[in-house]
């Protein structure tokens, strides 16, 4: 099965990192990606720019369709994701526990039949 590991966190904490901490964080993620590759679990993943740079488009009703900011204004914001392959939820949780970030949401990906 495929799962998305959605990374949530406090952007202020991310932004307050100095150069050295940023580098260490990058190294932690490099090691994590290495772990995923060694398990044959790495399908993809990206870091996202801060939520202040987000634009939300609403394609419904006749209200203004384009607004500044993320869809949900919450204390923790989506900061990035990995797409992984895992046998079942237990394996996905095991991999999520090793992800070096404080909050990880594990979401199964819908398997559509091959086009």
């Amino acid at each position: 099965m495929q799962y998305a590991l959605l990374i949530y966190g406090d952007e202020k904490v991310w932004e307050s990192r100095d150069e050295r901490e940023r580098q260490e964080n990058g190294e932690r993620h490099a090691r994590y990606m290495e772990l995923l590759r060694s398990r044959g679990a790495m399908l993809g993943g990206e870091e996202l720019s801060r939520s202040t740079t987000a634009t939300t488009v609403r394609n419904q009703g006749d209200s203004l369709g384009v607004t500044d900011g993320p869809y949900a204004e919450t204390a923790e914001q989506l900061g990035g994701f990995y797409l992984i392959e895992a046998a079942d939820l237990d394996e996905a949780i095991e991999l999520a526990k090793q992800l070096p970030e404080p909050i990880v949401e594990v979401r199964p990906v819908v398997a559509h039949p091959q086009m």
């Binding site: 099965m1 895992a86 046998a87 079942d88 939820l89 237990d90 398997a111």
Partner: protein, 409 residues
């Protein structure tokens, strides 16, 4: 009038339902990898048995007959549904061994037990799933036990089953590494079912013994499926000892009867003996766990009076050290008061006002201690506070009686 053969065939169907339903369902779920299909075809198989057995006689191997019948019906349904795109994905499971001798019904309930108690499910959903798929209760029965409507319970079960399939919760015994943590969840679910039956938080009924009895049944089953797990035996001892007092917990008018005032002749002596025997077997465990400590406390209360309150206070102190629970501290204070020191007990209550702000028991205990120490005005104020917080009628009646007796002095 039915002839005796017909009557005994009907009995055989009922007996098979009681003894084999959950085992057959577990086997069907792991083979078919779908809950709905397993439930429906097993239901059909029992309906067929009720029709066929009285006419043609009870088969030599009733469980195998039911499994074969249910499995065949399930495959028919699968063929008919082939094109249904709305179907949930199949549950994930390891391949089962193919059983050639159909007399041999393998027990797959352990896989179902762990799937139903997966940490990724909500606690109340876990409890409902356990009662449905491990204990074999109907949705209507579970709804009644949890005091919700049948559609509400059915929706809760459907959501939980969908989550299991879509999220990929596996039907599998957890890895050795995960096992201790997962057994903890199983124990929590069983104890949740038990406490829900033992102490309703609101309403006229203080005990729902049927639910508590189901929890004990689940405990025995878990012990059977996971032999050599001392924590399960400890939980069982705790539940059996508490449940043995059920008939004495409420008086004729449904009012709460405190432990010290209970009519001990209404305790089930055979069950207390069974609970104590379970604890005896655990004697060898060096570090008692939380359920074990609670069971040891329940055992002290089950012994003939006078209770050894000093030992009970020590057990609560150890339990408090483990859990840091304010409720445990409250109980420890009661034990210390009973062993002779109301002042020391009152001092222990300090700092509990914030964590137990809405808990009537804190104020009831404080009121009793103040009244013992002769502080009548403060005691009355504390009883009033307890009365404003108590949610069940029997408990409120008890508090009013206590308040009256303090006022009269």
């Amino acid at each position: 009038m039915s002839d005796p053969g017909e009557g005994s065939a009907r009995q055989a169907v009922e007996q098979a339902y009681r003894n084999e339903w959950s085992r057959l369902l577990a086997l069907l779920v792991t083979r078919l990898r779908r809950f709905d299909l397993a439930e429906d075809s097993l239901q059909d198989a029992f309906t067929a048995a009720a029709r066929v057995w009285p006419a043609e006689g009870v088969p030599a191997r009733p469980a195998a007959w039911l499994f074969t019948s249910a499995y065949r019906r399930a495959l028919d349904r699968v063929r008919r549904e082939e094109a249904d795109a709305r179907r949930l994905p199949l549950l994930l499971t390891e391949p089962s061994e193919v059983v050639e001798d159909d007399d041999e019904i393998p027990d797959e309930r352990l896989r179902l037990l762990f799937a139903c108690c997966h940490p990724a499910l909500k606690p109340e959903a876990r409890a409902a799933l356990m009662l449905r798929f491990v204990a074999g209760l109907t949705t209507a029965e579970i709804a009644r036990l949890f005091l919700v409507s049948e559609p509400t319970m059915a929706a809760r079960l459907t959501r939980a089953k969908a989550k299991m399939a879509v999220a990929g919760i596996p039907l599998r015994k957890p890895s050795a590494e995960d096992l201790p943590e997962r057994v903890d969840v199983v124990l929590k679910v069983i104890y949740l079912v038990f406490t829900e039956g033992y102490r309703a938080t609101a309403g006229p009924e203080l005990v729902r013994p049927r639910l508590a009895a189901e929890a004990i049944r689940l405990g025995y089953l878990a012990g059977e499926l996971l032999p050599g797990e001392p924590r399960i035996a400890a939980l069982l001892a705790l539940m059996v000892l508490q449940h043995a007092r059920r008939d004495a917990r409420t008086g004729a008018a449904g009012e709460l009867v405190l432990l010290t005032d209970q009519d001990r002749t209404r305790w089930h002596a055979d069950e207390i003996a069974r609970g104590l025997a379970l604890l005896d077997v655990l004697e060898a465990v060096p570090m008692p766990g939380e359920y074990h400590l609670q069971a040891l406390i329940a055992a002290e209360h089950a012994k003939p009076p006078p209770a050894d309150w000093t030992r009970i206070a020590l057990l609560y102190a150890e339990l408090e050290r483990r859990t840091g629970s304010p409720v445990v501290r409250l109980n420890r204070a009661v034990a210390i008061a009973e062993s002779g020191s109301a002042e020391a007990a009152l001092a222990l209550l300090e700092g509990l006002d914030a964590p137990l702000a809405g808990n009537h028991l804190l104020f009831a205990v404080r009121a009793e201690l103040l009244s013992r120490l002769g502080c009548v005005d403060e005691a009355v104020a504390a009883f009033d506070r307890a009365l404003s917080l108590a949610r069940t009628e029997p408990e409120r009646a008890h508090l009013r009686r206590r308040l009256d007796s303090v006022n009269k002095r």
